[in-house]
Amino acid sequence: MGIVSPGFQGRPRTAEPALPPGQYLTQDFPVLSAGPTPRVPLDTWEFVLTTETGAEYRWSWDELMGLPQETPHVDIHCVTHWSKLGTDWQGVSLDTLLDGVDTAARYALAHSYGGYTTNLPLDDLRGGRAWVAHTYDGGPLPAEHGGPARLLVPHLYFWKSAKWVRGIRLLTDDQPGFWETAGYHDYGDPWREQRYQGD
């Protein structure tokens, strides 16, 4: 337990569902990003998977929509302490995208329209735990939340769920991304409170 701040009681708490440590519930959907919101027209949008040998796998918007779709219903956790429970998405599983991709890579670096990057172990993109999501709450994903499509990796802090995702580069060595070079944790497990380097 931390140092008690006299007179602080916190919000009245009912029996709340399990939240990762240090998180509070929010009903709205805060926006955090480092710069202006990119606007990406669907007819030029593409998603590119690049393997460690340089092989490329590309999907246009229509091709992505033609793949099997999933509808994850997940909790999301932002490093700035808010969590949002039971959010509804639609997108394509990374398992589907990685199916048939020949790789021995252990790491992935997601990159976005606008230049943002973030790193993840490749295993964390597999096993039904990650999607390229294009629909939120029944409608097209708004640009400020990463539309037309963002990565959705709900078991990690939300900065790993790269907005405006453009592709994923598979790597044999881990390479930190944008926030990770700015002091944030390389992995970012909310349940272990891996917020910043060294946590």
């Binding site: 140092i3 602080f8 916190g10 708490r13 955090l32 710069g35 202006p36 700035t80 380097q197």
Partner: protein, 253 residues
């Protein structure tokens, strides 16, 4: 100074430090600046923030982020907190938290929305409401470093009574050479202000900002809708997205 920044990575864990309130300054009827004494504070850059954590007697904890409002004075840091109605943390900090009481503080955090005191490029700061806080840290750091980069601040507030640091901003625009401050009032303008209250628009950014060919650094901070609107205006005016840094406070509204 071991501050995490883009480019030079540090692995030292950011620890929670016990901070105590040493002074409180009223900025507006709903906002206050808290001066905290943080033993072991390593220093920070303007634009960085801290996480402040409160613990209740039953062990319950709540943490929120607050921008550092000024360069550190030794082990003293300043944050400015806007009271959010129905908020969990901000009303405690503005209403209950008393001199000498502890909170826990972790930081400095953030290596992107920062201004370096050796930069010479012109700077455009655009703040909405409490979003002025990290921008004020830049204005203050500029003066402290004797930096002469031309600075322009566009500050959007509801009414003249909502202006943070009002007196200091008046003094600095007079004394800090190369600093200009323009206000945009959204609800009620002061006597003699030209124009009607309005939300910030293209004309404000165009008139009080820098043209893109001067290659200014732009920092935009405030509520999400405000930041979205201003960042879009700047990009529309031709500012390269890499030179428009944003920090979004608070809810989607």
């Amino acid at each position: 100074m071991a501050v995490p920044t883009t480019g030079d990575r540090v692995a030292a864990p950011l620890t929670w430090r016990v901070a105590r309130l040493v002074e409180r300054r009223v900025e507006t009827p709903t906002a206050q600046t808290l001066m905290l004494e943080v033993p072991g504070w390593p220093g920070h850059r303007p634009g960085q923030h801290v996480d402040i954590r409160l613990t209740a007697a039953d062990g319950y904890q709540a943490a929120r982020s607050y921008s550092l409002a000024a360069p550190a004075e030794g082990e003293r840091i300043a944050v400015t907190v806007q009271r959010v109605p129905d908020g969990e943390v901000s009303p405690y900090l503005t209403d209950t938290y008393a001199e000498g009481d502890p909170v826990e503080v972790r930081g400095p955090i953030g290596g992107w929305f920062v201004w370096r005191a050796d930069e010479t490029a012109p700077v455009l700061l655009v703040g909405g409401g409490s979003g002025v806080v990290p921008l004020m840290a830049m204005v203050r750091a500029r003066r402290e470093a004797g930096n002469r980069a031309p600075f322009r601040l566009i500050y959007s507030v509801r009414t003249p009574d909502d202006v943070f640091y009002a007196e200091e901003l008046r003094r600095r625009t007079r004394d800090d050479q190369g600093l200009d401050v323009a206000y945009v009032y959204t609800r009620a303008a002061p006597e003699g202000w030209r124009g009607e209250p309005h939300r910030i628009g293209l004309a404000d950014v165009n008139t009080h900002g820098w043209p893109p060919d001067l290659e200014p650094l732009c920092y935009v901070c405030g509520p999400t809708g405000f930041v979205e609107a201003v960042a879009d205006l700047l990009v529309g005016l031709g500012h390269p997205t890499r030179r428009v840094k944003t920090e979004r406070f608070g809810p989607t509204g």
